[in-house]
Amino acid sequence: MSDKQNTIRDFIAEGFQQGWKHLDASRLTSDQTLEADVVIIGSGAGGGSSAEILAQSGLNVIIVEEGPLQTSRDFHMKEDEAYANLYQESAGRQTKDRGIKIFQGRMVGGGTGISWTTCFRTPSTTLKFWADEMGVKGFSENEMRPWFEWAEKRYNIQQWKVPPNANNSTLEIGCEKLGVSWGKISRNVTGCINLGYCGTGCPVNAKQSTLVTTIPGALEEGATLISKARAEKFEINNGKITELKCRAMTPRGNAPAVQTIKIKARHYVLAAGSIGSPAILLRSENKILNPNGLVGTRTFLHPVNISGAIMPFLVKGEYGAPQTSYSDHFIETRLDNQKPGFILECPPLQPMLMATALDGHGKFHAEIMRQRPFLQVLIALQRDGFHQESVGGNVYLKSDGTPGLDYPVSKYVWEGIRDAFIAMSEIQFAAGAKTVAPVHRDAGLYHNIKEVKKAIAVLPMETLKARLFSAHVMGGCPMGEDSAKSVVNSKGHHHEVENLSVFDGSVFPTSIAANPMESIFAATAKFATELAKNMVN
């Protein structure tokens, strides 16, 4: 037994030893049929919140998760291990044309397990757009306030008061010098010791992911967790879902096994995220689930581009809370949508993540890696979905039935990406950068703002040239009151199938324009509370 196991209490592992119900589907030797009041597909921000609320109201809940059950003792702050075990497609998921790399969690805890713990309430401008333009009801700032407060209490979301690491303080300093507004980020942590390894799974149970909060809350009420099981499709009869078909995954988890699990329930809740939830509806191949062909459409990514800077001081951005400072200046000043807005943040800078995000190889790449401790990195997240030339992507099924996302970046969004390269380099030079490197196939290292701006002005803003990323997948089952324009109503209920709800970020009709986790907590808590009331009565 290692020292770590002796000193850090893994109360989640203890809970399972003391009788929480868990089935690791990869160990099944025969097919299973199970029954419940509610089956929830997914255990992330939406699935976790829903599971606890429904279980606490006395309903018999089964949670199905494709990823593994791992707990703090399994999180060793090793990048290769974490990306392989805790992320969709080993953190190598990409859009159809390979232009955008997508980081999505796949574990008990979903995205909340590997999230960098950044929390924002849904911006009021986003909520207003949903009400005015997208036909959403009940999502005004006043109506949502109690649900944000619920999320902040349940997941202990608080302003982070510890001084930022040098990666984040550089963002603050650069913004300050330029008169660009910036702010401090709130985080969902309890007793955080400021390690900086949120992205590889929290080894000290400080991060208040669903893995350590609402999933245990549901299990405590008698819910059953099934891990390493892929929900494949719904069976429909007379306009109602009669059964969910799941397939066990192999022990390694990268491929399906032969054993199946059938689950019959009174109600079915999709919470598999904005690629996973539409995929299950598409695989079910039933017109009633997708009467207007809208399933999988309007899927948003907050496409992210990156700017690296060599600073004259040590940054060591691998240590310390990864995201503590941000600027929404370029959201707030662009609400007229003439040009797309973007939010500026920092990523953690562990070497594997960094080395794979840069373009190029050989001497150029090695030289940047040699200077890695001095490297400061900014990321810009585009506010997609608020303009007719920003309609997001479409989820589709590949030849083996697994989902892909076709997300062509429009000219309009590319201009936002170009502006973001300029804004990031200005902040970095204002904060004292020696050189700045926009992460783009055709870019080099630039020594002053004049030089970099001249270069960015002519860099081709094209797929596979500018390197793009996403850690926020939203939309795909948009909500709204008009059944011709949306998949679910403003309560997350499917317009056509009465025993089906979608309780995750796929209901958002645009991107959030801020890190979406708290928005998912709040919206799904609102949905699940109402569903619980209806089901118990």
Binding site: D3, K4, T7, I8, H76, M77, K78, E79, D80, Y83, A84, E89, S90, G92, D97, R98, L195, Y197, P203, V204, R252, N254, A255, E318, Y319, Q350, P351, M352, M354, A355, T356, L358, D359, G360, H361, G362, K363, H365, A366, E367, M369, R370, R372, P373, K398, S399, D400, T402, R441, E462, T463, L464, K465
Partner: protein, 185 residues
């Protein structure tokens, strides 16, 4: 319909008709596979490993240790890391990586066509030729009429897995100034 992708396939098929010419064309010798340090390979064939043993030093350049002995060990470990990483990917992605290697490894029927189309090196022993090949793929047009985005995507895949394998390895951490994960207790 003659889409870009079909055109690429057509190119590969016409390789068969070029077989006669091919027999007169010196095939690139696939380098021998380095030893696997006791790892039993699930995905990579000896040919794949031979090719990677030549690609890796060019991709990582100065990031590899200086002494020949350390350098060779590092390359072997990078290749083992490749195999472990790819064996955990979804089956469809594994299939794509197999296709990539089928172009890189080709020393028989397909060699002429991919080389004409793609610039896969004629000789794996010349680092400058490998560098030229990598840059051809890196800078290839993602909208190419003949090959679509496949060369650019292939380049990104090769480089990314190589970088991931090396920078996950403790032996790279001195070079990039990383002290490793904090020791908790």
């Amino acid at each position: 319909m003659l889409t870009r992708r079909n055109l690429f396939k057509l190119g590969a098929v016409s390789g068969v008709t070029l077989l006669a010419i091919e027999t007169f064309h010196a095939s690139p010798e696939i380098p021998p596979a380095p030893d696997g340090l006791g790892h039993s390979f699930e995905i990579l064939t000896p040919e794949d490993r031979g090719v990677l043993s030549k690609l890796t030093p060019v991709i990582l350049a100065e990031a590899l240790p200086e002494s020949t002995e350390d350098r060779e060990l590092a390359v072997k470990e990078v290749i083992v890391g490749w195999d472990i990483a790819v064996s955990g990917l979804p089956p469809l992605t594994q299939h794509e990586i197999r296709k990539l290697f089928s172009v890189l490894d080709s020393n028989f029927m397909l060699s002429l066509t991919p080389r004409l189309l793609t610039g896969v090196p004629g000789a794996w022993d010349d680092p400058s030729e490998i560098e030229f090949f990598l840059n051809t793929w890196r800078l290839s047009d993602p909208e190419s009429l003949l090959t679509g985005n496949e060369l650019r995507v292939g380049y990104m895949g090769m480089v990314e897995i190589t970088m991931a394998s090396w920078y996950a390895n403790k032996r790279s951490w001195d070079f990039c100034g990383y002290a490793g994960p904090p020791v908790l207790y």
